[in-house]
Subunit: 353 residues, 2 copies
């Protein structure tokens, strides 16, 4: 790894006053080039523009994948990242599906640790805020021909992350548009999945919703996921969530929340969840909570659910009665290094650079 | 429109010796920026790199759409483009579905004409070769947050196009992977559709096929399209093709070929075509031709079709007996300005710059 540090840091405390997610970039970025069948040495250097031809293949054929992680700081100025191996594995799964090269661990994991170490002053200390970490790979070969690129850039960018959603969301259950199909790329964290979701999201936003809960593309009968979140449903005291599949992203937060719920002795069911089941549970008063979980949003409650033209209000539970809020606190306490870490999820970033 | 001509042309005749599609770029490119809710003035300037942050949203969320057209030259050095209004309309349809801004006609159509005029010496004269025209729009806002970009670049690039496929192709009918879903983006010419197709294509290539014929994502029962082609099937003397839908690109070549077939009095049926119907027709000796049509490939015959593990060989028809070859000649003769143009498809590029 080549390290070229910035001459003078751009950091000042006002960065942490931003309320916008992912717009305040740190001093450095990591860049590695793939060409002639192999990765070159990764370089950490000052964050800034690169030159690229408008014929770079990612601008045309959308061969692009990414990951989202966070760095957290505790009161002793220790910096932690969370389950990075999971994101590394998923990145390479996405790469395989998009016909892109595998990224070696020495670039992804070692690169991640080095850049977060170097930019550690950009990691905020306030509980709920963090430094967002964005590994990304995109096609760069100069060619307009519909085939896989032979050249790629892998980059890691860091940007300030205030808390994502401050309030419970209102979400509409998809009954026309769809996000993923059997035999498609739903499980991959690839650009095209997000690009395809913006218009349907803007349509429900016109109706006053914040997000969509995606359903299967065949009958819109089963709940899949939402925006950048996996979805969990509490009916009575049972926590339900869809199994991951080729259509659903295998969320690290989802997995962590399920583990914490199991630790707490919660009643869990991982199986397809029907829209109708949700609606019926609402009617019978058994639908207690619906929430999303993901790295960016942590755990976010939904207080309004749209079933077709009907908008349904969920009960406001006191903090101690809410599965979502309890699990959220447990998860964050681990991430911020405030409590024991029984599953070894936390990775401390050592001061080395 | 601002025009900054190149100081010294990079053109020399050896460009036309290339056998690679879309790698030899012409002297100029057109670039326009969208920001603060509006398009700036388009500029035609020397083709070359632009600077862009690795946080540009298209690298992350894949918000990118494109078009593919061609410029043709006849023996009198007249340069023509083909039905540009169709590509203009489709570009804006794609833009709407991807939640990207509409591009005005003055930029797309007038820009197209101006740049092809300026780079007219890059249009080859050999029948079958052309100058490929690539309008493209991609997200450029510097932000890592899963939402629509507020800034875009629109570009037009020109690159030499030798004939695409020299020989008939062997294609496998998709029975696991899928390209498009109901409520998805299959009809849009957006990057994500192509990125998602490369791995499935590479899988069938390992089995010795060139391309996939996509089928519906629900049951893999109906034929949809192939690579960058709409698919036509000839059973007996009847020409069949799937109706366009939200899952299938509305090809300009498809429409032109159907019109020419109608002109010729061919028996046409536009309706869902079952895989089984193809297979049964093969068994009964009625499956005469299967071919793809698209701007890049014009009309390309398939001589081998893979149904699951079975590889089926189609008859080699003499040129005068083949619908595909007859329609191809008719279409090319119009495109190259060799015959009358009864439908007014050809647009001559006047010398103005
Ligand atoms: C589509 C989608 N689903 C779910 C998630 C949650 O995944 P994770 O918990 O790994 O962040 C994400 C990512 O944030 C996502 O983009
Ligand atoms: C997926 C797909 N289908 C069909 C076509 C054919 O469309 P057209 O004839 O307008 O080039 C294309 C574009 O070339 C395509 O990309």
């Amino acid at each position: 790894m080549i390290i070229e540090k910035i001459a003078e840091s751009r950091f000042n405390d006002s960065v942490f006053e931003s309320t916008v997610f992912g717009k305040e970039f740190s001093d450095h970025m990591l860049i590695a080039h793939y060409k002639d069948g192999k990765w070159g040495e990764a370089t950490i250097k000052p964050y800034g523009p690169i030159t690229m031809t408008p014929a770079a293949m990612s601008f045309h054929y959308g061969q692009t994948i990414f990951e989202g992680m966070k760095a957290y700081k505790n009161e002793n100025d220790d910096v932690f990242i969370f389950r990075p191996e999971k994101n590394f594995e998923r990145f390479n799964l996405s790469a395989a599906r998009l016909n892109m090269p595998q990224i070696p661990k020495e670039i992804f994991i070692d690169g991640l640790k080095a850049i977060v170490d170097i930019d550690r002053k950009w990691v905020p200390q306030d509980y709920g805020t963090s430094l967002y970490i964005r590994p990304v790979m995109f096609a760069t070969e100069e060619a307009v021909s519909a085939r896989s690129s032979n050249e790629y850039i892998f980059a890691i960018l860091l940007a300030y992350a205030p808390s994502y959603y401050e309030k419970p969301l209102s979400v509409k259950i998809a009954d026309f548009y769809s996000r993923a199909a059997q035999g498609g790329v739903g499980f991959a964290k690839c650009g095209g999945n997000y690009a395809a979701s913006f218009f349907p999201a803007s349509e429900v936003q016109k109706e006053g919703y914040d997000q969509i809960i995606w359903t299967d593309s065949i009958e819109h009968k089963y709940i899949e996921e939402a925006g950048t979140m996996n979805v969990m449903v509490r009916i009575g005291n049972k926590l339900l969530t869809a199994p991951t599949s080729e259509r659903i992203l295998n969320g690290v937060t989802r997995d962590s929340v399920l583990t914490l719920a199991k630790d707490a002795g919660n009643d869990l069911e991982i199986r397809p969840v029907e829209v109708k089941e949700l609606y019926d549970a609402y009617k019978s008063g058994e639908l207690k909570e619906v929430f999303g979980c993901g790295t960016a949003v942590v755990i976010t409650q939904y207080d309004t659910i749209g079933f077709g033209d009907e908008r349904v209000q969920l009960p406001h539970l006191a903090e101690e009665d809410s599965f979502a809020l309890n699990l959220k606190k447990k998860l964050k306490d681990i991430q911020y290094g405030l409590v024991e870490d029984p599953h070894g999820w936390r990775v401390k970033i050592e001061k080395e650079n």
